[in-house]
């Protein structure tokens, strides 16, 4: 069965931190992961794994449109109950901290109501940074993430968190916290030379602080110098190694 995070051969049941910059957004990894998870669920047996999307920045319509390009109808999954879409942008009133508690309870209910399946469940939080920028206190955001992490570990689920980097040379407090709790860190960066028509950006893979030291099947990490480059096309991202050997440039 193909990995959720192809071509990065990451295992399931992990806490993945995804960081990106404005010039090179990591949307494509989120959409690709969801599509891979829903497709894997179709062949996994009678009990389908649950996918939960916590959407801060994007509405359901964009998720549906982009899933359609992978031949997945999200409405069917919503009707079947294999997908739970929770829009945080509608319920996010920064002054009321109770809102995040309510969101967490919805996620917990969704996972508790689903039966254990062969495939791990998937939780995607598409934008951690904006929660802090619109006024949620850093403490409440960190508590929310910590609670999601413990829920994911308990429910045998993969948790994907996306964080926007606006100061590339100075990691902010929230990023430092996320780096401590994640198993892997997938870093999507723009090219240092600026935008290009042939290369959209590059992806590096680092080990997080929770990376198991006694890993039997070690994952091949990618430093920034050996980062994998990608180009976004209509069909999705195409990955290739740096340099001219791939015949891209």
């Amino acid at each position: 069965m193909p990995s959720l995070f192809s071509p990065f051969d990451l295992p399931d049941d992990i806490i993945l931190l995804l960081s990106d910059e404005l010039v090179a957004p990591a949307d494509f990894i989120l959409h690709r992961t969801l599509a891979a998870h829903l497709k894997a669920g179709l062949v996994s047996g009678r009990v389908k794994p649950k996918s939960v999307i916590l959407s801060v920045s994007e509405g359901l319509s964009r998720w549906k449109t982009l899933a359609m390009k992978s031949n997945i109808n999200l409405q069917t999954h919503l009707d079947l109950g294999t997908l739970e879409f929770i829009e945080l942008s509608s319920c996010a009133e920064p002054s009321a901290e109770a809102n995040l508690r309510g969101v967490f309870d919805r996620v917990r209910m969704a996972l508790e109501n689903s039966r254990p399946s062969q495939q791990p469940h998937l939780i995607i939080l598409d934008d951690v940074s904006v929660l802090e920028w619109i006024g949620f206190s850093p403490t409440s955001v960190q508590r929310f993430i910590r609670a999601l992490r413990s829920l994911a570990l308990k429910a045998n689920a993969t948790l994907v968190l996306r964080h926007h980097v606006v100061t590339p040379n100075e990691p902010d407090e929230l990023l430092r916290h996320l780096l401590q709790i994640c198993t892997y860190h997938l870093e999507v960066r723009p090219l240092a030379s600026g935008r290009s028509g042939a290369v959209s950006g590059e992806v590096a893979l680092h080990a997080g602080f929770s990376y198991p030291s006694n890993n039997i099947n070690p994952v091949k990490l990618l430093s920034r110098s050996s980062a994998l480059q990608y180009c976004l096309t209509e069909a999705g991202p195409e990955f290739f190694v740096k340099g001219t050997s791939g015949g891209v440039l």
């Binding site: 404005l22 957004p25 359609m68 109808n73 942008s89 100061t167 028509g197 976004l232």
Partner: protein, 439 residues
């Protein structure tokens, strides 16, 4: 040799096209397959009929998305055809001596008014703002002639005809070096109207729009509205009628008239505005930040990036007004355009990457962009050095290469020469050169 699709008899043939369209057919016999190609039926999946509004068109990037013009054809090109409905655009103009951010808003307003869209104008003294909005040229009839937009260039060309430069015959037929894009057809002209900065919108047009409830003013200063109250007003206006597209035009967000707004308030406002627009697919918004708020360091480190993350498109218009060094280096332009993010409501990458001529990403790296404001209009174009290279050091020596007579140039004259080409003498800053090659 042309390849044809020959289905094998007795099998189900499937062909896939773009946008989720697939064709399924059962082939009875080869002969039938050849004779009756109509047995193939298109099965459209997830294709919805979009309501057709005046002044909008289906996006070339996605058939599920409508776009509308910003009123500036070159800006439309940068956006990939126009601003998609349900999206928000933010302009930052950090220069305090000019107001290019508000000028773009005026174009956005004028375009909406010309197309009969419903407009919600938010800001300080909206009635005063409307009086300054540009309109059709005075000579404009019912439909503007296609040539109006190029009037200025034509005038210049006419004046120069008498002093035409002699160009080597093999370069004479090469197309002229162009730095911007314009409306080439009448259809494009009706989509993006041509306005002239010297004209003002007639009062009766405004009154007519107000009577028909196509125009709503939200005076932030007079009514002492908080950002959340402004959002409620906008939402109410969007929900009141969905028969025509709604343009939300917000001017000088963050200026003192809005009260003492923090960076958090502004980010929350823009984030909520975008979430509201997503629920109303017939509306779009264009916002200009106040000059002091547009500074990169105003809201802390990475401020403009934060604005970009909570809006669909974010652009900075950095005028040269406060920097004489840049003005002298780029005398043909009035400022630089910086693109932070561009709308992509139905695609992973912005359609502009593929479709924009000015950005030029489809062929190579991204072009540097700038803008200039002429007597008649605002134009976005590619940034290019002056023919002399932009610096006095690159002027060539006055030598025997002069075309119109030899001798040293007089005071006040400029000499330009392109390597391997022909040097000319230009008077009073008018430069006419023959290019060695077109690039």
């Amino acid at each position: 040799m042309r390849k044809t699709f020959r289905p094998f008899p007795g099998r189900v043939a499937e062909r896939r096209f773009g946008d989720g369209i697939s064709v399924l057919a059962f082939i009875v016999s080869e002969g039938m397959g050849r004779r009756k190609m109509s047995s193939f039926k298109r099965k459209a999946i997830g294709k919805q009929a979009l309501p057709v509004y005046p002044g909008t068109r289906i996006s070339p990037a996605s058939n599920q998305c409508l776009i509308t013009s910003t009123g500036i054809s070159s800006l439309d090109d940068i956006l990939g055809g126009g601003l998609p409905l349900s999206c928000s655009l933010v302009f930052a103009a950090p220069d305090i001596h000019s107001s290019y951010g508000d000028l773009v808003q005026k174009y956005f307003f004028a375009q909406g008014l010309a197309n009969g869209h419903r407009i919600c104008l938010v800001g300080k003294d909206p009635e005063g703002f409307v009086k300054d909005v540009m309109w059709y040229p005075k000579s404009h009839s019912a439909t503007p002639s296609a040539g109006d937009s190029e009037d200025e260039e034509k005038d210049e060309e006419k004046g120069d005809e008498s002093q035409k430069v002699k160009i080597a015959w093999r370069y004479e037929n090469m197309k002229q070096f162009k730095t911007t894009v314009g409306n080439s057809s009448s259809e494009a002209e009706s989509y993006c109207q041509t306005f002239e900065l010297a004209s003002r919108v007639p009062e009766d047009v405004i009154n007519k729009a107000r009577k028909a409830d196509r125009l709503r003013f939200v005076d932030v200063g007079l009514d002492a509205l908080s950002p959340s109250a402004v959002l409620s007003e906008i939402t109410r206006y969007m929900e009141s009628d969905s028969s025509a597209p709604v343009r939300i035009c917000i001017t000088s967000l963050g200026s003192p008239v809005w009260g003492d707004l923090t960076s958090q308030n502004i980010v929350y406002f823009l984030h909520s505005l975008r979430a509201t627009l997503r629920k109303h697919p017939h509306a779009c918004a264009s916002t200009s930040l106040a000059p002091e708020v547009s500074a990169a360091s105003w809201g802390g480190a990475g401020w403009i990036d934060k604005v970009g993350w909570v809006s669909d498109g974010a652009l900075t218009l950095s005028a040269f007004t406060a920097n004489p060094a840049l003005s002298s280096m780029f005398p043909a332009q009035h400022g630089l355009l910086q693109i932070h993010t561009l709308p992509s409501p139905h695609t992973l990458s912005a359609p502009s990457d593929r479709l924009s001529t000015l950005r030029g990403l489809s062929s190579s790296g991204e072009n540097n962009l700038a803008f200039k404001c002429t007597r008649k209009r605002l134009i976005f174009e590619t940034l290019h050095l002056d023919v002399e290279g932009g610096t006095s050091e690159r002027r060539t020596r006055p030598s025997g290469l002069m075309v119109d007579g030899g001798g040293a140039p007089e005071a006040g004259e400029k000499v330009a020469q392109v390597e391997g080409g022909v040097g000319v003498r230009a008077k009073k800053g008018k430069k006419r050169v023959a290019f060695d090659y077109d690039f």
